[in-house]
């Protein structure tokens, strides 16, 4: 029996655009789900730029094997969040994974079929930017497990929306339901004078959601505390409930949970 059979709900985090905060949103979603009492796994299929181990202070951890396959790395003592990333398989953190498509596809298939996830409420799958090998491999490998759908992340500016529209087409073509659009880096409140500036332009997330006819899940503002917290592998959801980013992140997690129908195991 394949290893992902104990996972109840799978959600992919996608964007056509790089640097919009997919890994950030994936990590924060996992932390928020954990705080709601769920058992969560994170699968990081960004092979060239695996960001998540650092965000959860799990760099340098080793991946062990058991009878059912690779054991994912638990990032906390309670073992409520597990993680698999190519980052764990590299000899050094600066080592570049300079692979062409077929080799990337093979590893992603293994990450889905050969990792012993165990019983999970949610598996959050973080992806690299684009609509190419990694995305096709992930969708194909996850299809037998009927993913809940995709969370699509954009920033407000047109250049981001331009790429993310294509990602929405990818979802449509591959039959992946879009749970909703998240607009990240939505405005910055100056800590000195409280003036809110639209650093990366404005409006893109809602425009995108309405163009594609999918739900708009919310705007997450820029918060340097969030960035710092991720750099240092802290639990942002626990440590910064007063952050301006917190309500949006929490609401996104709630919407994901409300999408998940009750499933018989």
């Amino acid at each position: 029996m394949e290893a992902a059979v104990g996972v109840r709900h799978i959600i992919l985090v996608l964007s056509g655009k790089g640097g919009v905060g997919k890994s950030t949103i994936s990590t924060e979603l996992a932390l928020a789900l954990r705080h709601a009492g769920k058992k969560v796994g994170i699968l990081d299929v960004d092979l060239c730029g695996p960001s998540i181990p650092r965000m959860l202070r799990a760099q340098g951890r080793a991946v062990h094997q058991c009878d059912s396959g690779w054991v994912p790395v638990f990032v906390d003592q309670e073992q409520s969040i597990s993680l698999m990333s190519v980052g764990f398989l590299l000899e050094s953190p600066d080592e570049a994974v300079v692979w062409r498509g077929p080799k990337k596809n093979a590893l992603i298939k293994q990450f889905v079929a050969d990792v012993a996830w165990g019983q999970l409420d949610y598996l959050v799958v973080d992806t690299p930017p684009g609509t190419s090998d990694e995305h096709m491999a992930a969708v194909e490998a996850l299809r037998p497990y009927s993913p809940l759908g995709a969370l699509v992340v954009t920033t407000p500016q047109a250049v981001s929306v331009g790429d993310v529209r294509r990602e929405l087409t990818f979802c449509r073509k591959t039959g992946l339901q879009v749970v909703g659009v998240v607009e990240n880096m939505s405005g910055f409140v100056c800590p000195h004078c409280a003036e809110c500036t639209n650093v990366f332009s404005r409006g893109g997330g809602e425009v995108l959601a309405s163009l594609a006819g999918v739900p708009f899940l919310g705007s997450v503002p820029l918060d340097p505390e969030l960035t710092r917290s991720l750099e240092e592998g802290q639990d942002f959801i626990r440590d910064f409930p007063k952050s301006p980013a917190f309500p949006a992140l929490f609401s996104i997690a709630q919407k994901v949970m409300s999408e998940a129908p009750a499933r018989l195991s």
Binding site: S51, R54, N105, G130, R166
Partner: protein, 309 residues
Amino acid sequence: MEEVPQGCPGTGSAQAGRGASCQGCPNQRLCASGAGAAPDPAIEEIKEKMKTVKHKILVLSGKGGVGKSTFSAHLAHGLAEDENTQVALLDIDICGPSIPKIMGLEGEQFVEDNLGVMSVGFLLSSPDDAVIWRGPKKNGMIKQFLRDVDWGEVDYLIVDTPPGTSDEHLSAVQYLSAAHIDGAVIITTPQEVSLQDVRKEINFCHKVKLPIIGVVENMSVFICPKCKKETQIFPPTTGGAEVMCQDLKIPLLGKVPLDPHIGKSCDKGQSFLMDAPDSPATFAYRSIIQRIQEFCGHHPPKEEHFLSS
């Protein structure tokens, strides 16, 4: 359980496809047929085509969203302000072609008489069209861009790339290997999550023997338009690009502050350098562009191959 072949002999090796570590590799049959060993004839064809192109600069980053396309576009704008300089901008981000939007182009290829652009974005009929291609097809498109586009007499060819270290990057370097690339400009933002990926990109450059012109730190500091005070939105928790460049002994070409007008100019497809000539970000860009020109001037093209086959 199989792991991806660690003892891969290399696609050009005599053992390609035949070694013990080749068993189970998806490329095994291709390698065993000898397809990997013969050099692609396109490499010589591209070398010929590139004879009229004086300087070639790749704009790279391991990380997405750090401002590669924004930088490439403004490097092109900056260089083309001298009407005697012919500039070409090639966008090889096949899945996420941002350059047409940033340059304000809807299909036409010339922004100015002396600034031409090529992108897969021009070949798509609708803004929703997704290019869902695997590696080999993307490589084919890149080959076509380099070999079949009539570049003409060009002083600077700027190649904008997608994030990562994969097919597009390998193909660009491979196809241009006989034509001499002046070097790569690597873009980062200050935070460790970016630097982490950028170090990998720097390793990639070393692996393929691509000279590095230097690093640009983008989104360095935010200056509030109201109170003018500075905030670091993307804190350099590990010292930012400055420390990384010192550690790796690579030039830091400059730091560009976060100016909200940059995003607005890009959305409108206009040159930020023209829209906001007095912005500190414009001064930073101009100084960086000058350093790149100096590098290209001091390192004239040589005849030998730069990539070992």
